[in-house]
């Protein structure tokens, strides 16, 4: 009996000594919160190797902002100091979220929008008699019979039937314009689904790299990502994708995935970029942090974090837009499609 009790006591002691996990309990103070945030980025952020020229040494960033953090008297002050540190990464996928604000780096705020949403809903374009399939707004433009699709967000889903119906509606069109201006991204799967309907044959669309360890240069080898043709309707006629600086993340990915297609032209302004894939973590104070943990490179292995240059760069003529409800970028796309038809 005594031996049994001794055995049980030993087991209980073994469990007690290994079950505390006190080392994982973090203080909710300025230093711990700051260091936790800095370490998350230091160990998990994927772009350090690609942004050597634009990001100051991350240890120096820490020193600069830590001294500022120590001077904070309120959590609100601390939030903006830490948000400022994250903005040093110049990455729209990196945010600090609290109950009162979301820190963000606005890469394209100093650029022209090249897009006025009200104009595309005038009678010249979508008007009020447009169709809508899932998140896709579409209409056959007259008199030149050009299909126009406006997709404002890759967060809004559409089904295979939706896109099949859209493209069937355009079966007699001379060409299709896919307008993703202002599209800030969303689901990667939506981007790949849409791209697959403009892909007549299996195409190398991008490369993928992911953080494999805590070191800044710990990145996986490039993995080729191919887009397979969709099972449904595939449009292989003249296609123009309209972009501007607000095209970001999944919308940027869509742009780089269709760019290798010979029947696709990118028209408008440079995209906003955002080729990282974000993941999340959190701080002891309850704020969450989002950071880029993996990278999509384009089909030539180039990083598109800072955007994709269009094949035809066109700026929006604001005067025409405001006075005549004319979107000069759409008009350029229409004329390009008209010219494309004349080619053999």
């Amino acid at each position: 009996m005594r031996k049994t009790l001794t055995l049980l006591a030993s087991l209980a002691a073994l469990i007690a000594t290994t079950s505390c996990d006190k080392d994982l309990e973090k203080e909710n103070d300025v230093t711990t919160n700051f260091n936790t945030l800095w370490s998350i980025i230091d160990q998990k952020y994927c772009f350090f190797e690609f942004k050597k020229d634009s990001i100051e040494d991350w240890n120096k960033v820490r020193a600069t902002y830590y001294s500022k953090a120590l001077e904070c008297h309120t959590m609100e002050e601390l939030f903006y100091v830490m948000g400022g540190m994250l903005n040093e990464l110049k990455d729209g996928h990196v945010n600090l979220t609290s109950t009162f604000d979301v820190s963000r780096y606005n890469l394209h705020e100093k650029y022209e929008d090249n897009f006025i949403k009200n104009v595309i809903f005038t009678d010249k374009y979508l008007g009020s008699d447009y169709r809508r399939a899932g998140g896709l707004y579409y209409k056959m433009l007259t008199p030149d019979s050009i299909g126009y699709v406006y997709y404002p967000s890759f967060s809004t889903a559409f089904s295979e039937s939706n896109i099949n119906n859209v493209l069937l509606h355009f079966k007699k069109a001379k060409g299709v314009i896919v307008d993703i201006r202002g599209n800030g991204g969303g689901m990667i799967t939506n981007a790949e689904r849409l791209a697959s309907h403009f892909t007549p044959q299996k195409t190398l669309a991008s490369y993928f790299r992911r953080k494999t360890g805590r070191a800044h240069n710990a990145l996986s080898d490039k993995q080729a990502i191919y887009i397979e043709p969709a099972d449904g309707v595939i449009y292989a006629g003249p296609t123009i994708v309209l972009t501007n600086r607000d095209v970001y993340s999944a919308a940027n990915l869509f742009t780089q995935e269709v760019q290798p297609q010979r029947h696709v032209l990118i028209v408008g302004d440079r995209t906003g970029g955002g080729s990282g894939v974000p993941a999340s973590d959190e701080l002891p104070c309850g704020w969450t942090v989002r950071y880029s943990s993996a990278i999509y490179l384009d089909s030539k292995g180039r990083c598109t974090e800072w955007g994709i240059e269009p094949d035809v760069k066109v700026a929006l003529d604001k005067e025409k837009a405001y006075l005549y409800d004319t979107d000069s970028i759409i008009e350029t796309a229409r004329s390009l499609i008209a010219k494309a038809k004349k080619q053999p």
Binding site: T4, I15, V277
Partner: protein, 287 residues
């Protein structure tokens, strides 16, 4: 109100074990063969650290429901028994700032065997081994692209049961302890910062099933319990369970602790050959 719930729980557990007792009584091997079934519920402390989901330790509570069974392989040589069962665990843990909740849900099935020996008096030792299959997930809603981590592992456990039986006022009481430790296994784990989208669409599970042993995964479980009869209606099993998991797989660390109070209903089922009724001396006898 609480008493009502406890009464309801006990009633449900009792109903289940009587239902199974009737189906099992048809077996008629030579002499007798003992099957001990325990249907149980548990509740207690739970905390978890899953670096894939969060760098913080989440703490909360868990409840479990399950059954286990010990059955002699042979009626003539009662030296070996099989051990199997299943359980369902649900845990809810809060972040240190108490503003986010992580939910865990997993089911466990296990199967194994023990060797029975009686080295000293009424002390019984039962070394053995069993294997488990755990399937479930952890969910942290606020994460953008990494809100879920899958729980999927199978292990070979080394196990030691011990029990000691004595009587208080002619009623048999059994205290027992069951310690087990996972020796080797296979565990599913994402790689460092790998999203589930990458796993399914790009990497195709390459490197996600990892061979584990003491070097990268330590998991052990201890259950201390007391069995005591309530009249001739049922035997109650009251115990404390602690299960600990610690791993460092694919450069991701994780820890888990469950410490629960467990209450169950035990039913000893005897199968006899040539006997139409259960001999009186077997009723409520602890093996």
């Amino acid at each position: 109100m609480t008493k009502k719930y406890i009464l309801l729980l006990l009633t449900l557990l009792t109903v289940r074990h009587y239902t199974e007792a009737q189906t099992d009584s048809t077996a008629t091997p030579p002499q007798y063969r003992l099957t001990t079934k325990t249907t149980w519920a548990s509740a207690g402390h739970h905390h978890t650290y899953d670096e894939y989901l969060s760098g913080l330790l989440y703490q909360g509570a868990q409840i479990g429901l399950g059954f286990d069974e010990q059955r002699y392989y042979s009626a003539t040589h009662r030296k070996f028994s099989k051990y199997d069962g299943a359980a369902l665990h649900v845990a809810s843990d809060l972040s240190p700032a108490q503003n986010y909740r992580m939910l865990s849900l997993y089911a466990r099935g296990f199967y194994g065997a023990h060797y029975h020996t009686t080295p000293i008096g009424r002390l019984k030792l039962m070394p053995g081994a069993y294997s488990n299959l755990d399937l479930g997930l952890k969910y942290l809603a606020h994460n953008s692209n990494n809100p879920v981590n899958v729980i999927a592992n199978t292990n070979l456990w080394l196990s030691l049961k011990s029990s000691y039986t004595f009587k208080i006022k002619k009623e048999p009481i059994q205290i027992s302890d069951h310690f087990s430790i996972a020796a080797v296994g296979i565990m599913f784990s994402p790689k460092y910062t790998q999203l589930y989208y990458d796993i399914s669409a790009i990497d195709n599970f390459e490197g996600n099933f990892v061979l584990t042993s003491f070097g990268n995964r330590l998991q052990f479980r201890n259950e201390f319990s007391v069995n005591f009869p309530i009249g001739r209606l049922a035997t109650i099993n009251l115990g404390m369970v602690a299960e600990r998991l610690r791993y460092d797989v694919n450069k991701l660390e994780g820890r888990n602790l469950e410490m629960s109070v467990k209450i169950g209903v035990v039913h000893n089922i005897y199968s006899f050959k040539g006997e139409e009724r259960i001999p009186a001396e077997f009723i409520n006898v602890m093996q």
